[in-house]
Structure formats: structure tokens, C-alpha cells
């Protein structure tokens, strides 16, 4: 596969603030990449450097095999969907969609024909003569998408495009954008703070924190084998439980720092006596102690969503169960498969395998 976007050693300083620290990223043609992380992690800044809206302090950006590091946005052949949609309020939907085409030098008729064609795909045909202020939130979002698609750019950049929509519409548009991507086969970079969005939409997820890429890979890869405690805690909902512990003498089990020092086996070997942070996903703690490798926890609270029950222990450990749980549960015994027990270094947070 050829690389459509290549970022090498991207640095960005804002005065004394180091926003991006040596970011490397290769995005193959046709891939859907999500940049995800908490606010302030630099994901939006990274996207804007790809667009050329931010200058970089160091490094190199290539798009479609061309070095565009010093090229202004208009020369980069990219389309961007903004969080606020940034529709031109003084232009109709058609005007918004043809604006870039006209700048590219297409004739009025050509541009209109192309806009009509894309409007068909995105379901905007009936709205072409409307102004943005006359549209609903979902429709505006669609116009923003249409305006990007009509360009047929080298890459699509999305800056949290769904965060202004209500929950139901967000889920709907999530699927729609992904379907559109499959259909167009275009390269997309998608910024979001919502890990579920990233997991469900992307082929490749890049988790960022404080200007650094913490881990990148396929969504399930990040879920199954998080490289460090931050990624482990960020990916997955509800978040992974972390408990301090110490490796036992058999080098294959760990004693948890909980009442009664319960012992859990893990896959692999670690030196005896090593202090670790143990990571347990709530959904991997299965009710019932069958098969050993189990622990018993006093129950403090049960939350029910209907499809799941979240049991919170007195030490704030969370258990996600699909079965209904009765009231007045004093304590609960849960089982976890040894290969699902994650170990992290207690200070650096690096995953131990």
C-alpha cells in the first residue's frame, strides 16, 4: 500500500508550550485513521498542521507523495470538516459546495453539475438552494460533509464533526460517515475525544496524550494489548480497574493489594516480588467463581442500565455484568481468565508481558 499521508518528526511549539513532540505517522491510501485523546493532547493541533492551518516548528509533512511542509492550505489538496461545520452563512448549500470548485477553476456549469451529483449521494438534493441558517443541525453536518466530498481531495480531515449533535443523531451519523468512507475509499483523518467513536469508525487508532503518540494500531489491538496504563484506561468503557499488587514466588501469579490479598494467575512470567499495577477490565470480571482465578468483593453499589448491571465494590472496583443482579447483595465472587489480567509498571505505566 502506498502512503497517502506521512508525518515525520512533527514538532510544534507555542511560545514556551511544547504542543507536539516528534510525531511520526504513516497513513496508507484509503485508510480511516482516528486521532483520539483527552482535551489538550494535541490531536486537533496535529490535524491542523496536516491541513496547513498551523505552521510546524520542525519535521516534515507529505501528502500523496509530495512534500507539503511549506505549502499553504490551499495548495495541499485536502478537505476539512470542522466541529462548527464552518458553513459560509452568506452562501446557499449549493454555493458552499461549489465554492472550492470555482476556486479550482471549474466553470459554473461544471461545478453545479458536480455539486448536484454529490448532493444526490449525501441526500442534500432538496436543500441546494437553502441557506445554512435554514437547516437543522444534522443537515448542516451533511452539508459540511458534502462540501468536503465534492472536492475529491487527497485526504479528508475531520475535526470532531459530530460533537455538536445530540446523542441519537451522533450514532446515526457515525455509521453514515463510515459507510461513505467505504464507498469513496478516500483517506480520512478523524479527530475525536470519544474513544467509542474512534473504536467503531477507524481502521487505525492513534492515542495521544500531551503531544505524544502513546500507542497506535487497529482498534481491537489497542483494546487487547494496550501498550501502557494510559491507553488501557482510555480505551474501553467503563474504564479498566487498576489495583496495586505484587508478583508471587511462582512468578505467574500476583497478590492484589485488597482485603485478604486475593491471588490471580496471569499469562507469562514476571520476576518474583516485583511491584506492579494490575489492570482488570470490568467486562472481563465474570460473575461466579467457576474455574478458579477468582476474587470475592464486598458490594457498595449496583447501577442498572437494563442491558447491563454495574457493580461497584467498596474499593471502587467496577464489574460489568450482562445478567440482572438481585438487590441486597452483600458480596460477589468474580472470575477472570488469566490471559485477561494486565500488568503495568507501577511508576512508568508501561505494560509488562
Amino acid at each position: 500500500m502506498t502512503q497517502q499521508i506521512t508525518l515525520s518528526g512533527i514538532e510544534k511549539h507555542y511560545g514556551g508550550y511544547h504542543a507536539l513532540k516528534g510525531i511520526n505517522l504513516d497513513i496508507p491510501k484509503g485508510q480511516f485513521v482516528a486521532l483520539v485523546g483527552p482535551s489538550g493532547c494535541g490531536k486537533s493541533t496535529l490535524l491542523r498542521t496536516i491541513a496547513g492551518l498551523e505552521t510546524i516548528s520542525g519535521g516534515r509533512i507529505e501528502i500523496a507523495g509530495r512534500d507539503v511542509t511549506a505549502v499553504p492550505p490551499r495548495g495541499r489538496d485536502i478537505a476539512m470538516v470542522f466541529q462548527s461545520y464552518a458553513l459560509y452563512p452568506h452562501l446557499t448549500v449549493e454555493g458552499n459546495m461549489t465554492y472550492a470548485l470555482r476556486l479550482k477553476g471549474l466553470s459554473k456549469a461544471e461545478a453545479k453539475a458536480r455539486a448536484a451529483e454529490i448532493a444526490e449521494i449525501t441526500g442534500l438534493s432538496a436543500l441546494l438552494q437553502r441557506y445554512p441558517r435554514e437547516l437543522s443541525g444534522g443537515q448542516r453536518q451533511r452539508v459540511a460533509m458534502g462540501r468536503a466530498i465534492v472536492r475529491d481531495p487527497a485526504a479528508f480531515l475531520f475535526d470532531e464533526p459530530l460533537s455538536n449533535l445530540d446523542a441519537a443523531l451522533r450514532v446515526h451519523m457515525r455509521a453514515e460517515i463510515r459507510k461513505l468512507h467505504n464507498r469513496l475509499g478516500a483517506t480520512s483523518v478523524y479527530v475525536t475525544h470519544d474513544q467509542i467513536e474512534a473504536m467503531t469508525m477507524a481502521d487505525h487508532v492513534v492515542v495521544m496524550r500531551a503531544g505524544v503518540v502513546e500507542q497506535q494500531g487497529a482498534p481491537l489491538e489497542l483494546y487487547d494489548r494496550p501498550a501502557n496504563q494510559f491507553v488501557a484506561g482510555f480505551i474501553g468503557s467503563p474504564a479498566m480497574n487498576f489495583v496495586p499488587g505484587r508478583v508471587g514466588e511462582d512468578e505467574q501469579s500476583v497478590a492484589l493489594d485488597l482485603a485478604g490479598s486475593p491471588v490471580l494467575r496471569f499469562a507469562g512470567r514476571r520476576p518474583s516480588g516485583e511491584a506492579v499495577t494490575v489492570g482488570l477490565r470490568p467486562e472481563h470480571l465474570e460473575l461466579g467463581g467457576a474455574g478458579g482465578n477468582s476474587l470475592t468483593l464486598p458490594v457498595a453499589l449496583v447501577e442498572r442500565t437494563g442491558s447491563a448491571s454495574y457493580i461497584v465494590s467498596d474499593t471502587d472496583l467496577m464489574i460489568a455484568a450482562t445478567e440482572r443482579v438481585a438487590d441486597g447483595l452483600g458480596q460477589v465472587t468474580v472470575h477472570i481468565a488469566s490471559e485477561r489480567v494486565h500488568l503495568f509498571h507501577p511508576t512508568t505505566g508501561v505494560a509488562l508481558r
Binding site: T55, A70, P72, P73, R74
Partner: protein, 300 residues
């Protein structure tokens, strides 16, 4: 060269260029005259040396001459009175009106806007109209005051040295009310209604709410309006030109009008510059305090 072009078409150079365009103009037509004014205040400038570039420097002579002028002290106190009374009444009347129009009744906003008509009129026209209203023998103000029994004989607002300054002050208050009112209305509108509702529930009376909520929350706004009032009042020139021309015998003269008279009627341009420099210095200090305070507020 190519790099140069890029900076201006796509980079920050574009902003710099735009700013420089306006700033350059202001430097030539505002900053330069400002400095030139200071230079001239140390030179001997009259009708004959006007266009010459080679004028003798006279040190502080112009300054001592202006200060030594017999009329300097009365004109100075006139200016103080003019500014003080104008700003005080503009502010109190403007604030009163702002509070009144803050209430909810049909057409409040529109009617409030009508007051700005006074502000939009050319100062000279306002002066002419007030000159007619204040006219001694046939002025409508004297007639009204007499009918109400407030005065015995006619007051010669424009030609009686003991009151002629007040004609300028009255007209200037009228001119300044709208601006004060609108700016204070903005401040009042910015105070959230729930603060008042909370105070009302706490049992605060109307007067109490005004003293404990409105006034403290309006402090910054009041400061700004007072500063602007001082600045605008010191800019007032047209009213004097239309009403009294500083007369009779400087009884209603103020520094900004006197400076102009020195330069353009007596051609003592060096001395005119001295008065201008002193006035501008004062205005700039007031403006500096004002701008600083509003800027800080934004940052904080």
C-alpha cells in the same frame, strides 16, 4: 523573493501589511502632528515664519508667556468648571435615563435609541439651536423660566459674562446625555436578572438593590463613562464656535478654544501650541488610564 510573496499571500505578513497601512497613515496624520506640536511649542512661530523650516528655538519662553497671560487663570478655571459640571450632569441624567429605560415597557429600546439623535447632530447645529433657545430677548428658555416664575428679568445667557459659560455647559450636557445613557444601558443589561431576583428574595428593597448590586457591578462601566466624558468634553469646540466664541472678553473661554484662537486669530502659533501640548498631555493621561482599565478587565 518567492518566500516574500508567500509570507504576504498565505502567512502572517498579510496581517502585518494590513495593520501597517492604517498605522502608517495614523503616524503621518496623527502621531507626527502630535510631536510637531511639541516642537513648535519651543519655537517662535508667527504668520511670517509659518511656512519656513528654519525657525528660531526659544526654549521655555512660550510656556512662560502663556502662563503669564492675564487670562490664563480664568480660562483654566473655566475649563475645569466646564468639564466638571458637564460630566457630572451628563452622567447623572444619563444614568437616570438608563435606569428608567431598563424597565420593561413597550417600545423602550426604540425610544431610548431616539435620544441618540441629539448625539448624531453636528455640534455646530446644536450650538446654533441652543443659541436660539438661549437668546436673551426672544429666547424660549427665558420665556419659560419667566412664566414659571423662576426668574424675574431676562437672563442674557450668551452676552452676560457671569453666565455665558453656562450656555456652553447646558448645550454640552444636552449633547453628552445620549452617549452616557447608551453606554450605561449596556452595562445595566449585562447584569444578570437572577442577581436581582436573588436579592429580592433576600428582602432587599429597590433602593437597597441599587446601592448594593447595581452600583458596585457598574463601577467599571461608570469609570469608563466618566473617562470618556472627560475626553469628549475636552474635545468640545463646535459649541463655543456657534454660541459665544469664548466671549464676552474670555468669560466663557476654555483652553481648547483659546488654543485655536491663539493660533488662528492672533497667529501666536508657538503659544497656541503650548496650550495644545498641555491639553493633549492631560487628555492622553485620562485616555491612558481608561484604556488600561478596560484592557485589564478583559484580560481578567
Amino acid at each position: 523573493m518567492l518566500r516574500f510573496d508567500r509570507v504576504f499571500r498565505d502567512g502572517g505578513g498579510f496581517d502585518t501589511l494590513l495593520v501597517m497601512l492604517a498605522l502608517g497613515y495614523l503616524v503621518v496624520f496623527s502621531a507626527f502632528p502630535l510631536i510637531y506640536n511639541v516642537v513648535m511649542s519651543f519655537q517662535e512661530v508667527d504668520l511670517f515664519s509659518l511656512a519656513s523650516f528654519d525657525r528660531p528655538f526659544v526654549g521655555w519662553d512660550n510656556y512662560s508667556e502663556v502662563m503669564g497671560e492675564r487670562v490664563f487663570t480664568p480660562i483654566f478655571w473655566n475649563t475645569v468648571q466646564f468639564v466638571g459640571l458637564s460630566v457630572f450632569f451628563q452622567l447623572t441624567i444619563g444614568f437616570g435615563l438608563a435606569l428608567f429605560f431598563q424597565q420593561d415597557f413597550p417600545g423602550a429600546t426604540w425610544l431610548r435609541g431616539l435620544f441618540l439623535a441629539g448625539w448624531i447632530l453636528p455640534g455646530l447645529v446644536v450650538g446654533a439651536v441652543w443659541g436660539w433657545i438661549l437668546a436673551g430677548d426672544f429666547g424660549v428658555l427665558n420665556y419659560v423660566l419667566q412664566s414659571l416664575g423662576l426668574i424675574e428679568g431676562k437672563i442674557f445667557w450668551l452676552s452676560d459674562p457671569s453666565v455665558s459659560l453656562y450656555s456652553g455647559i447646558i448645550a454640552n450636557i444636552w449633547l453628552g446625555i445620549p452617549f452616557n445613557m447608551i453606554l450605561l444601558s449596556v452595562g445595566l443589561a449585562a447584569i444578570p436578572a437572577d442577581v436581582y431576583e436573588a436579592a429580592e428574595l433576600d428582602g432587599a428593597s429597590r433602593l437597597h438593590r441599587f446601592l448594593t448590586i447595581t452600583l458596585p457591578l457598574m463601577r467599571a462601566q461608570l469609570g469608563a463613562v466618566i473617562s470618556l466624558g472627560v475626553i469628549f468634553t475636552l474635545q468640545q469646540f463646535d459649541l463655543f464656535a456657534a454660541l459665544t466664541r469664548g466671549g464676552p472678553s474670555n468669560a466663557s473661554n476654555v483652553l481648547q478654544y483659546w488654543a485655536w484662537q491663539l493660533s488662528f486669530e492672533e497667529y501666536r502659533i508657538g503659544q497656541g501650541s503650548v496650550v495644545s501640548v498641555l491639553m493633549i498631555l492631560f487628555v492622553v493621561i485620562v485616555a491612558f488610564v481608561y484604556v488600561r482599565s478596560t484592557r485589564n478587565e478583559h484580560a481578567g
